[in-house]
């Protein structure tokens, strides 16, 4: 990048920066000095850039806190500790783990399905829905009960007849 120097063959800005920061080779630095001695613009640039450089040199940073390393290691340890159990969890959730359990899971699923089919509609303790068929079943049960009671009564009468003394045949009518 060229400086805004009016003189021909003026050095570029990065040469100026390298000159000021001491990165320019001795020969190039001498060349720049020779040029600046005859170019007011470059001389001014050299002076003002040197002032900037000196000013920045004067800016000393604050010392780093004594506990910096300790705090960093504490954070690293905390992260390591946390990541150790997350690693274990991740390992437990790995696909290979589930792959080994897959046959067992399939077998269990089949057993449960078969059980469900086998017991469909035969759930003890569960109330049956209201339907006319339920009434029919109840009525037939009552008839059966009535018939059984009639049969018992008939048997009782037969027994009583058998136990009683013989009557003249005329009384049987």
């Amino acid at each position: 990048m060229k400086t805004n120097c009016p003189t021909p063959n003026c050095p570029t800005e990065d040469i100026l920066l390298d000159y000021i920061s001491g990165r320019l080779g001795r020969a190039q630095a001498a060349q720049f000095d020779a040029h600046a001695d005859h170019c007011a613009r470059c001389a001014a640039l050299r002076t003002s850039q040197a002032a900037v450089w000196q000013s920045l040199d004067a800016w000393k940073p604050a010392p780093v806190s004594e506990g910096f390393n300790r705090e960093l290691w504490r954070r690293i340890d905390a992260e390591e500790h946390q990541s150790s159990w997350t690693r274990e969890l991740a390992a437990a959730l790995q696909f290979s783990f589930w792959k080994r359990l897959a046959p067992l899971a399939v077998a269990m699923a089949l057993i449960v399905t078969a059980f469900m089919f086998d017991h469909t509609g035969k759930q003890p303790g569960k109330l049956q829905p209201y339907s006319p068929a339920a009434i029919v079943v109840t009525a037939s049960e009552a008839d059966q009960l009535n018939r059984a009671l009639d049969d018992i009564q008939l048997l009782d009468e037969v027994d009583a007849t058998a136990a009683a003394p013989a009557q003249p045949s005329s009384s049987v009518m």
Partner: protein, 207 residues
């Protein structure tokens, strides 16, 4: 990222860290802690925040150890992380305002926090016997800090890496994720601003 042809001792240490050698990380930490914290101090101009950010940089380096490949110079990689974090921090308007407030507090010596309290005290450490001279020094330093703070974030980062870390243009370019010519342009504009603001300090030698 360009390949590193010369042997980078830091990269070799980092490769050992990758193998689980924490002692090598300790060595890297001891070697680069101060330059990194100082870079961040000048960048964000908040001593507390700069140490927080530096810790985050080292944490990220440690976290990345298992996948580390020495494709660039270690310091370039480190300053890349640091610049990224600092630029993000500065982008946050809330932090920007806080930094300005803290700067004001620092100027009148009312900054809070141990490290922050150290800053003006240390910067005023001068052999001069006169209180007046110390005050002049502090005013000039404040002017320098303000001049740097007035630069756009990327220009600021480029100047700090160029001036204090003595990084090559190519390294700065990698750290700031831009081209070398863009770095030169950033530096050109930044130094132009600084020359305009700080040239008058040329006569005031002995800051």
């Amino acid at each position: 990222m360009e390949a590193v042809l010369s042997p980078d001792l830091d990269a070799q240490l980092m490769l050992r860290v990758r193998e689980g050698d924490d002692e090598s990380f300790r060595m890297l930490l001891d070697k680069h802690r101060n330059p990194l914290v100082h870079f961040l101090q000048r960048m964000v101009q908040d001593a507390g925040a700069s140490e927080e950010l530096a810790q985050e940089v080292f944490l990220r380096i440690y976290r990345a150890r298992t996948s580390y490949e020495p494709s660039a110079k270690f310091t370039t990689w480190m300053f890349r992380i640091a610049s990224h974090l600092a630029l993000n921090w500065m982008r946050d308007e809330r932090h920007e305002r806080a930094a300005v407030r803290l700067d004001g507090a620092r100027a009148d010596g009312s900054g809070s926090g141990a490290a922050r309290d150290d800053l003006p005290a240390r910067q005023l450490q001068d052999k001069s016997p006169s209180v007046e001279h110390s005050l002049v020094c502090e005013i000039r330093l404040q002017e320098i800090r303000d001049s740097i703070a007035s630069l756009p974030a990327k220009q600021r980062a480029a100047v700090l890496m160029h001036k204090y870390e003595e990084m090559e243009y190519s390294q700065i370019a990698q750290a700031l994720e831009c081209s070398e010519s863009a770095v030169k342009s950033l530096l050109f504009r930044a130094y132009e601003t600084l020359r305009a603001r700080l040239a008058h300090l040329a006569t005031g030698a002995g800051i």
